[in-house]
Symmetry: C2
Subunit: 403 residues, 2 copies
């Protein structure tokens, strides 16, 4: 007997038939004698529909009320899931976050789950009940509804797994696991059977939309074994756990890419302490998310070139911010809004020399120019022209034996 | 300055534009210096959509979960309304029933509001805030979500008006008031400016769907002045208050009718104490709602005929129940499933003789046969063949000077 969190995403609950199907998966796990807490997302499309309603009323719709509005989506699926389980002959009850309660840090639209009362649900589980809990939400200490950001149901599932001390946390979604690259674009993409938190984190930050990065991070911090698997097939999914427990046969685990990036280079920036801070502080204040930052050693000891990437949508705002800020001095500014970032990720890299060289050689063979490079212990990212993205991903997938 | 409950029905909140329009009505009342509590229904069609989803999962969908499901509809409109008010520059906050809390008697799907904590909202109102409260729901003493039956937002509005001691309760709907008969069928129907609770109660029980009868009853019990008015015009609506404060110029206030009725007559039932109870008890246990009951004085001292009406949908169930019950003895049973009930309602009747005669003469003039009659102090109802319904209503509307 194990205690499990089973989390179902929006596509897995996108229609009544799918909800019934998901309830049958729960029944199957329950019949094995497991104690089950189900965490549900809103039906696919619902959150977007509610957001667009709020925008029709106000482009700056009040955040407290937005959270009241959005939290209704998971309330609906919780009740439907619980009703479907009861129909299958299983004792079940939905538990809204105010009924448990699930306490968050309190910010509207972007909270974190801090604590929850496990007592009532633990009693209920021990009496043979299946608890259904809405993802994506909790209440603040002063009793307001607060949500925990888009994709937050993953974070809810992991937080519940942690606070209830469950044996595992299974994420049911519309893909059958984590892949070596995007299976929709690269048919040779392969499902990864086992992956470390760190690799998963790099992959999901890099655009593999299987799991929300902060949820993976929480799982890593508390060492909660995750499983990502498909609601629609019986196939085994991808297991995510600590690096040590994985036997690496391949250097690279996956190739990820993100489009819609833009690159900015500031030429001949003064090379002295505090300059980078002067540049990035106003960007942060303007809600501009800076991704890669590359700064070379100064050749003349006085000035240096600074390159960084941002989301393409933020380009205009970034240019205005940089140009209007008197503190920032540079000779020239160049930008390119048609770039993408490709990354190879693999815990095996740490101990294998030559990965960087192999990657750059492969891109050169395809005549792809590298505009910027950034590396971490388990990841190498390169900025390239957007038009070359798929060609580059295919090539890297092949040369790192992922096909 | 007055303290008011403004309640908006589903059609008044049926789209984002309509919600913004309703928010402007609230703003107008607020700008006059009034303290406002807004009660909202779910968007029109929403509750039916949720119910049909639940039925797709189970024909006997768990009632606790049904209440969790359905209560989401008013949560959505509460947040949207409050957001719209904030956009109009008004301080506003939605208050879910667990946040107030609104306590009900505790039954699922059919509760009554018993009490609520007025303190927090009163403070908020005195600080210039507009409180938005979802209708149709509350929580039970053990913390479950409970709804208060279809059309329950009217009941919520009246309960809040009572418990907050407001000066008035205004029901905003898609008609511009209570009419002398159905304006969709009888073009000569006229809006009633003032009507007593009792008349309103008779009219709404008789099929005028402007307000939920139990809400009118609560308003009558606690003497809460109601106003029914249109969200879509500026016209004055109908005021509903105690009979004493109304100056009657007409004997009859309105003509109502209900279709889809069926009539059953038991011929030669034993005329002794307890017989009626023996007949109606099993019907009640089978959830069959008996409307009119007519029993004549026994002519032979031994047997009597008993006629009653029910909803047509219940006819088969009623016949089975009557025939299978050994306690019920009668010689013969006749039934007619194509009947309707027409009623004339008016507080002025009490003091005016001859209304009954005038009504029957009018129907006879139109060659309409009366199958059964039932009267109260302010109402006369007659069962007629369904095909004669509109002809009868028109005639009565004319002869009682309502055109």
């Amino acid at each position: 007997m194990a205690k499990k969190v089973l989390k179902f995403g929006g596509t897995s609950l996108g229609s009544i038939d799918r909800i019934i199907h998901a309830a049958n998966i729960v029944k199957n796990e329950y019949s094995k004698g497991n104690q089950i807490i189900v965490v549900v997302s809103a039906m696919s499309g619902k959150t977007n529909e509610l957001i667009s309603q709020s925008i029709s009323i106000s482009k700056k719709f009040n955040k407290r009320e937005l959270d009241v509005l959005l939290s209704s989506g998971e309330q609906v699926t919780s009740a439907l899931m619980s009703g479907a389980l009861i129909e299958l002959g299983i004792k079940s009850k939905s538990w809204m976050s105010w009924q448990i309660p699930i306490l968050t840090t309190g910010e509207y639209t972007n909270s974190r789950i801090e604590n929850l009362n496990v007592e009532k649900i633990n009693t209920y589980l021990s009496e043979g009940g299946v608890a259904v809990v809405p993802g994506f939400q909790g209440i603040s200490k002063n009793g307001d509804t607060t949500t925990i950001g888009r994709g937050g149901s993953d974070a809810s599932a992991v937080a519940l797994a942690k606070l209830f001390g469950t044996d595992s946390c299974e994420i049911y979604t519309d893909v059958d696991g984590v892949h070596s690259t995007d299976p929709n674009k690269i048919p040779l993409a392969k499902k990864i059977e086992k992956i470390s938190y760190e690799e998963m984190l790099e992959l999901s930050s890099l655009g593999a939309k299987v799991m929300q990065p902060s949820a993976v991070q929480t799982a890593m911090m508390y060492d909660i074994p995750l499983q990502v698997r498909s609601t629609f097939t019986d196939r085994k999914g991808t297991e995510i756990f600590t690096q040590e427990s994985i036997d690496y046969t391949k250097i690279v685990t996956g190739v990820a890419y993100s489009k819609d990036d833009a690159k900015i280079t500031l030429i001949a920036v003064e090379d002295k302490p505090g300059v980078a801070a002067d540049i990035f502080e106003p960007l942060g204040l303007n809600q501009i998310n800076v991704d890669m930052v590359i700064q070379n050693i100064s050749s003349d000891g006085k000035t240096t070139d600074l390159t960084f990437t941002i989301k393409r949508d933020d380009l205009e705002k970034t240019l205005i911010t940089l140009k209007s800020n008197k503190k920032i001095k540079f000779k020239n500014l160049s930008h390119n809004d048609k770039v993408s970032k490709i990354s190879v990720v693999g815990a095996g890299m740490v101990s294998t020399p030559g990965v960087t060289f192999k990657m750059f050689r492969a891109l050169a063979d395809e005549n792809i120019n590298i505009l910027a490079i950034s590396t971490s212990e388990i990841k190498i990212s390169a900025i390239i022209e957007e038009k070359n993205t798929l060609k580059a991903v295919k090539k890297l997938h092949t040369i790192f034996d992922l096909d």
